[in-house]
Symmetry: C2
Subunit: 330 residues, 2 copies
C-alpha cells in the first residue's frame, strides 16, 4: 500500500489535523523513463504553510492533492537512465510512502551522508542559510548579525555560519530554554526570547553596536525592532515571514518602511535558495566540510512515522522543534 496525506482544505486561521486527510492507494508503477521512489525522510518547512494560501514561488496547493513537501528517498525501481535501485534521491514528491517521478524532478545524492543531514542541514535548509547569509547579507568580520527563529532549521545554520565569518551573532527564539541552548551549545553571542516583554530593548542590549545584518525568518515584531536598530547601510535578508503564515489576520506592515530604509540607506532583499543553485556544488562542499569538522552542529529534530506528519507540521508553528524538523517515513 501507498499511505498518503492529502491536503484536505484551506485552513481558516491556524492549521489543524482537519487540514489533512489520510488516504491509502496502490503503489504506483513506473512507466518507461520513470522512477519509483520510496520516501525515507520528509522535510517539514514553514513554507509548507505558505503554499496553502496562494501562489508563491510555486503554485498554491489544491485540496485533494497529496500534501507537498521536500523529501529524501530511495529508488526502488528505475526505468530511467542514470538511476538505479538503491540510489538516494531528493525532490518534492510530498507526504506519501511511494511516488513515481520523472528524472528531472529528482536530484541524486552521492557520498556517505546520513539521511538526517540530507533532509536539511546539507540540503535545502543549509543552502538557504548559506546563500542568504553570504550572498544576500554579505557579512564582514566584526558585523553584528541578528537572526530570527534562530533555534529553527535555517536559524541554527545562519548563526553558526555567521560565527565562522567572524561576526557577533544574536538570535531570537521562543523561550529561555532555547535561548540558553543557542548560546551554550551553538556558540551564539546572545539570544533574546521573543515571547518575553521588552523585546526591542532586549535586542538593543544584545546588539550594543547596532545591527549590520538582520536575517529575517519571521517578519512581525522582530522585524520592526530590527529596522529601528539597523546601522547605516545595513542589510535585511528576507528569507521568511513565519510569524504571519499561520494566522487568520496578518499583522500590519512595518511602519519603518520605507522611511528608515531611506534614512539609513538599508537594503532589504528577498531570495529563495533555488536562485543560487548554480553555486550549489561549492556550497555543499563547504557546508559538508564544516559539519564534518564539527565547526557547525547540524541539529535535526526527527519525528517517527508518516502518520505523525500533520502534528509535526502543526508543532513547527508552535515552536516545538529544535533545529530542522523532519519525519522519518521508512
Amino acid at each position: 500500500m501507498n499511505r498518503q496525506w492529502l491536503y484536505a482544505q484551506q485552513p481558516q486561521g491556524k492549521i489543524g489535523t482537519d487540514t489533512f486527510e489520510w488516504a491509502e492507494s496502490e503503489i504506483p508503477v513506473p512507466d518507461a523513463g520513470e522512477v519509483l521512489v520510496r520516501t525515507r525522510m520528509l522535510s517539514l518547512d514553514p513554507a509548507n504553510r505558505a503554499w496553502m494560501m496562494g501562489k508563491t514561488y510555486r503554485e498554491a496547493l489544491e485540496p485533494g492533492q497529496v500534501m507537498s513537501g521536500f523529501a529524501v528517498g530511495e529508488v526502488v525501481e528505475s526505468n530511467a537512465a542514470g538511476f538505479e535501485r538503491g540510489d538516494i534521491v531528493e525532490g518534492d514528491w510530498g507526504w506519501q510512502d511511494y511516488a513515481v517521478l520523472s528524472p528531472d524532478r529528482l536530484t541524486k545524492r552521492t557520498g556517505d551522508v546520513s539521511l538526517e543531514l540530507l533532509v536539511g542541514p546539507l540540503s535545502v535548509t543549509g543552502l538557504t542559510a548559506y546563500f542568504g547569509l553570504l550572498e544576500v547579507g554579505r557579512p564582514k568580520p566584526g558585523d553584528t548579525v541578528l537572526v530570527s527563529a534562530a533555534a529553527g532549521a535555517v536559524g541554527t545554520m545562519v548563526g553558526q555560519i555567521a560565527k565562522l565569518m567572524g561576526c557577533r551573532v544574536v538570535g531570537t527564539a521562543g523561550g529561555q530554554e532555547k535561548c540558553d541552548w543557542l548560546v551554550s551549545d551553538l556558540g551564539f553571542d546572545a539570544a533574546v526570547d521573543y515571547k518575553a516583554s521588552g523585546v526591542r530593548r532586549a535586542i538593543a542590549a544584545a546588539c550594543p553596536d547596532g545591527i549590520d545584518i538582520y536575517f529575517d525568518n519571521t517578519g512581525g515584531p522582530v522585524l520592526d525592532a530590527a529596522l529601528s536598530l539597523m546601522n547605516l547601510r545595513g542589510r535585511i535578508v528576507c528569507c521568511g515571514n513565519v510569524s504571519q503564515y499561520d494566522v487568520e489576520k496578518p499583522a500590519p506592515g512595518p511602519m519603518a518602511v520605507p522611511g528608515l530604509i531611506v534614512v539609513k540607506r538599508l537594503r532589504m532583499e528577498g531570495f529563495i535558495v533555488m536562485d543560487f543553485y548554480d553555486q550549489r556544488a561549492e556550497a555543499e562542499t563547504r557546508l559538508s566540510g564544516w559539519v564534518t569538522d564539527g565547526r557547525i552542529k547540524a541539529v535535526v529534530d526527527v519525528i517517527d512515522g508518516l502518520e505523525n506528519a500533520p502534528e509535526a507540521l502543526i508543532g513547527l508553528f508552535e515552536g516545538t522543534n529544535w533545529g530542522k524538523r523532519a519525519v522519518r517515513v521508512s
Copy 2:
C-alpha cells in the same frame, strides 16, 4: 541687512506659515579662513520637512535656528584660499541673504551654467535621480520603470533618464493636467493620477508587463500598489517618503513587506545622493550633456523673493510645483 527665516516651531500635522519666523540681523563678517556668501537661489525639497521631525541622515532642526536648506550663492568676500569674490558656490546655509562659511561647507561650481540648473537639475536633484536610478535601480533596456511624484524635481529627471536607458516609463502625479504634461512634454509612456480612484488598477493597466523598477519618492498607497505589481527580482529604489512627511499620523506600513519581498525576491534599497559623490564629476558631465543636447528637459519652478520661501515650501506638499521648486533670493 541679512534677512532670515528662522525655524520657529515643530509643526503638528501640516506645516504652516507659523512654522517659520522672519528675522533681520547684521550682515556677518568673515574671519580669517572664512567666506561671506550671498544667496542667489534656494532649493526647496521635501526633505526640509523631514528634518523637522527628528534625526535623519542629519541632525534634526532646532527651533530658533535659521531654516536649513540647500542653496546656490555668490562669494562676496573671501578670506579663504581657493575662493574669490564672484565665485558661484553651493552648500547648505539655509534661508537667509548672507552666510559666513568655512570652505569645507562650500562646493565651487565652474562652467557656464545657469543658476536655475545649478539649484537642482544639474546638482542635488539631478544627481539624486541619476544615482538612484542607475546605481540602485540598475535599469536594463526594456524594463518597465514606475516613478512616483513624477512631476516633481527628482521624478521628472528619473523618468527622462530612464527613457534614455531604453525603458518603458510610467509616472504617478497629482491631477490629470500634470499627467498629460508628463506624457506630452517629458516623453513618459504613461502617467497615472494618484488622486483619482482605482490607482492600483490604473498602474496595472499602464504596466502590462509588470514593474521592474519602482523609484519611490512617496511611500504610501503608490508603494503598496507597486509592491503588488513588481516582477520577479524587481528593484524598489527608496528615495523618499513624501506622502508621510507632512501628516499628523503616519499611514500603516506596507502589508506586502516582507511577504512579497521574499516571494518575488525583490530588492528594496535606500540611498542618499552623497553616498555616490565619488562619482559626482562623471555624473554631472553626463547630465549636463543631456540637458545641453535637449535630450532631457530641466524643469525648474522658480518663485521670486526670500519672503515667499515658507509658502513655496508649503506648496510643495500641496503639489503646486511643476518640476524643481526653487526661490530666487537675489
